[in-house]
Symmetry: C2
Subunit: 329 residues, 2 copies
C-alpha cells in the first residue's frame, strides 16, 4: 500500500472531491493537518455525530442522501442549541474510492454546506474493510454563555416540537418492508416517509429563536419519548404530554392505525427541535417561529417531580409506553 501513485491517489481524492467544499479561510484549502476557528467573542458549540452504513442508513441509500444526512444530523444539534453553523470536519471511512459514489456524495455535501452556511474545514479519509462510516464534528457560534442546554426546564414551561414526529421511523419501516409498508398503498405517502428518513430537515431557521425564548432544548434524534425523558432528567423535572397533540404528517396519520402510536414517538431520526418555553414567552415564541417559517406544536407541560413523563390520550387516560427510544446497545 506504499507507493507514489497511491500517495497521489489519496491526495487527489481529497483535492478532487473535497477541496471545492473548503471555502472558509480557516480550512487552509485542506493543505494542512489542522483548521482554524478564528478567535471571536462567541462561544464555540461543538457537536459530533456519526452515521454507519447498515445502522443509520442503508447500503442501498443514494450517496447524495447519505451525505446530507451525515451533515444534517449535526446541524440539527446546532439548531437545538441556538447556535449558528460555523463549519465542520469530516472523517470518511471508505471501502473504495469509486467516483460513482464519491461524486454525488461530495456534490450533495457541498450543496448542504453552502445552503446551511457550514463550510468544510478539514477531515480525515481512511480505508476500512467494514461498513462505511461518516463521522462529522460540527461547530456553531453563540453569544458568550448563551448556548441552550438541557437543564433549564422549569415546572409550568410549555413543551414544543417542530415539524412532524415519526415520519423517519415509518420511512425506514417502508424501506425494510415492515408493517407500515403494507399499510401504505399510496406511493406518494411512501415516498414522503422514505425521504424524511433519508434527508432530515434540521430547523436551523429556528436557532436564534430557541436561544431567545427556550429554557431548555435538544433535538429529537432517538425518539421523542426517550429524548423528552432525557431533557426532564437533566432539568430535574417531569412532564405531561398530550399524545393526540403530537404532530403527525398525513402519511404518518394513515400508518398509525397499522403501526400504533408508540412507533411514532419511540422511533429515531426525527431531527426536530424539542424545547421548553416559559408560558409567559410562549406567544412571542410562536409568533417568531411562524415568521421564520418553522411549524411548531405545543404538546404538553413541564411539571415538578422526578417521575417519567406521563403520556395522556384524548380521553385523559394515561398511555403506558413500552419503548421510549432507539438505542445502539
Amino acid at each position: 500500500m506504499q507507493d507514489q501513485r497511491q500517495v497521489s491517489a489519496e491526495d487527489s481524492l481529497i483535492a478532487r472531491y473535497f477541496k471545492p467544499l473548503a471555502t472558509d479561510p480557516g480550512a487552509l484549502a485542506l493543505v494542512d493537518d489542522a483548521a482554524i476557528l478564528s478567535a471571536s467573542a462567541d462561544d464555540i458549540v461543538v457537536t459530533t455525530d456519526a452515521v454507519v452504513e447498515g445502522v443509520h442508513y442503508l447500503a442501498t441509500d443514494p450517496p447524495d442522501t447519505i451525505a446530507r444526512k451525515a451533515l444534517r444530523v449535526n446541524l440539527s444539534d446546532l439548531a437545538a442549541k441556538g447556535a449558528s453553523p460555523a463549519g465542520f470536519v469530516l472523517t470518511l471511512a471508505l471501502r473504495s474510492k469509486e467516483d460513482a459514489w464519491l461524486r454525488p456524495f461530495a456534490d450533495a455535501l457541498g450543496e448542504d454546506a453552502k445552503s446551511f452556511a457550514c463550510p468544510l474545514l478539514g477531515g480525515d479519509t481512511v480505508s476500512t474493510p467494514g461498513p462505511q462510516m461518516i463521522s462529522i464534528t460540527a461547530f456553531g457560534r453563540v453569544p458568550k454563555g448563551r448556548m441552550v442546554g438541557r437543564t433549564g426546564a422549569s415546572p409550568g414551561d410549555l413543551i414544543f416540537v417542530t415539524g412532524t414526529i415519526g415520519d423517519a421511523a415509518l420511512g425506514l419501516d417502508v424501506l425494510t418492508g415492515g408493517v407500515a409498508a403494507a399499510a401504505l398503498t399510496d406511493p406518494a405517502a411512501r415516498d414522503y416517509l422514505v425521504d424524511r428518513y433519508r434527508v432530515p430537515r434540521p430547523r436551523n431557521a429556528l436557532a436564534s429563536i430557541v436561544r431567545d425564548y427556550a429554557s431548555a432544548a435538544m433535538d429529537v434524534s432517538d425518539g421523542l419519548a426517550g429524548d423528552l425523558a432525557k431533557l426532564c432528567t437533566a432539568s430535574g423535572v417531569s412532564a405531561v404530554v398530550n399524545a393526540h397533540q403530537v404532530p403527525a404528517s398525513p402519511a404518518a396519520a394513515i400508518a398509525i392505525s397499522a403501526v400504533g402510536f408508540e412507533k411514532l414517538v419511540s422511533g429515531g431520526d426525527d431531527y426536530e427541535v424539542l424545547c421548553a418555553v416559559p408560558e409567559g414567552r410562549s406567544a412571542a415564541f410562536s409568533r417568531a417561529a411562524e415568521q421564520a417559517g418553522v411549524q411548531i406544536t405545543m404538546i404538553g407541560t413541564i411539571i415538578a417531580g422526578q417521575g417519567a413523563p406521563q403520556w395522556i390520550d384524548a380521553q385523559g387516560r394515561e398511555i403506558k409506553l413500552r419503548r421510549l427510544s432507539y438505542s445502539h446497545f
Copy 2:
C-alpha cells in the same frame, strides 16, 4: 433494538466509562448533545484523525494502547501546529460493549486526557457490525494568527525532526512477522519497536517552541519522505536531506540492514514533529528544545525549486526512493 433496558444500557455505558473523563466545564458532564469551547482571545486549532481496527491498529492490540494511540495521533497534530491542547470529542464505533475491552480503554484514555491536559468534551457512541473505529476531533489554542502552517518554509531554512524515525513501521513489521521480525533477535529491541507502534509519543512539550521558532511544521504520520514532500509542495520549495542524519533508535539501526533505509522514511506512524527553522534562529531553537527535554535532529536544508526533496547518502550520492508514504488507497 428499542426498549427501555437498552436505552439505559447506552446511557450507562457513557456514564460508567466516559463521564469521569469529562472534567472540563464545557463538557457539561456529557448530559447534552453539545459541548462548549469558551470564547477567548485565542484561535481554536481543530484537527481530526481516526483509527480503524485492522488498518491503524491490530485487533490483538491491547485496548489501553488503542485508546492512547487514538488520542495521541491528534495530540501530535496539535503539537506540530504550536497549539496547547484544549479538549477533544470522541466517536466510538463499537461491535460490543464488553467491560473487558471498554474498562482499560476508558481508563487509559482518561489517563492520557489528564496528563496531556486535553479533557473529553463530548462524543457519540454507535454500534457497527464491522471493524471498530475511533474517530477523535481535538482542539488546541494558539494566540490569534499564530498557528504554524505548512506553507512558510523558505530556502535556507534548516529541517529538523524530533525523536527517532521508523520505529513504528518496524514495530508493525515485528507484530506481523515481517523481515524486521526475523532480523531482530533481541526481545527488548522488539518490544521497544512494538511499543513505539502502539503508543506514539506526541511532542506537545515542543508546541510553544515550534510556534516561536519554526517557519513551517507538520507531524510525521505517513512517512517522513512523503510528509516532507508535502510540506515542500505547500511552501513552494524543495529540500536536500542527508539520509545518514535521519535519527534512528538503536533497535532500528539493527533492523535497517535487513529492511533497508527506505522502510524507515516511508513507513507511517512516527508522530514526530517535522519543521523548518530559519538558520539564524536554529541555535536558539535547539537550546529551547533541549531545555524542554525533546530530542531534535537537523536532517537537511530547504532549497529553492519545485522538485521532489533529494535524499543524499553519506558519500554525497543521491538515493532514489521508490516509496514515500503510507496511503490508504
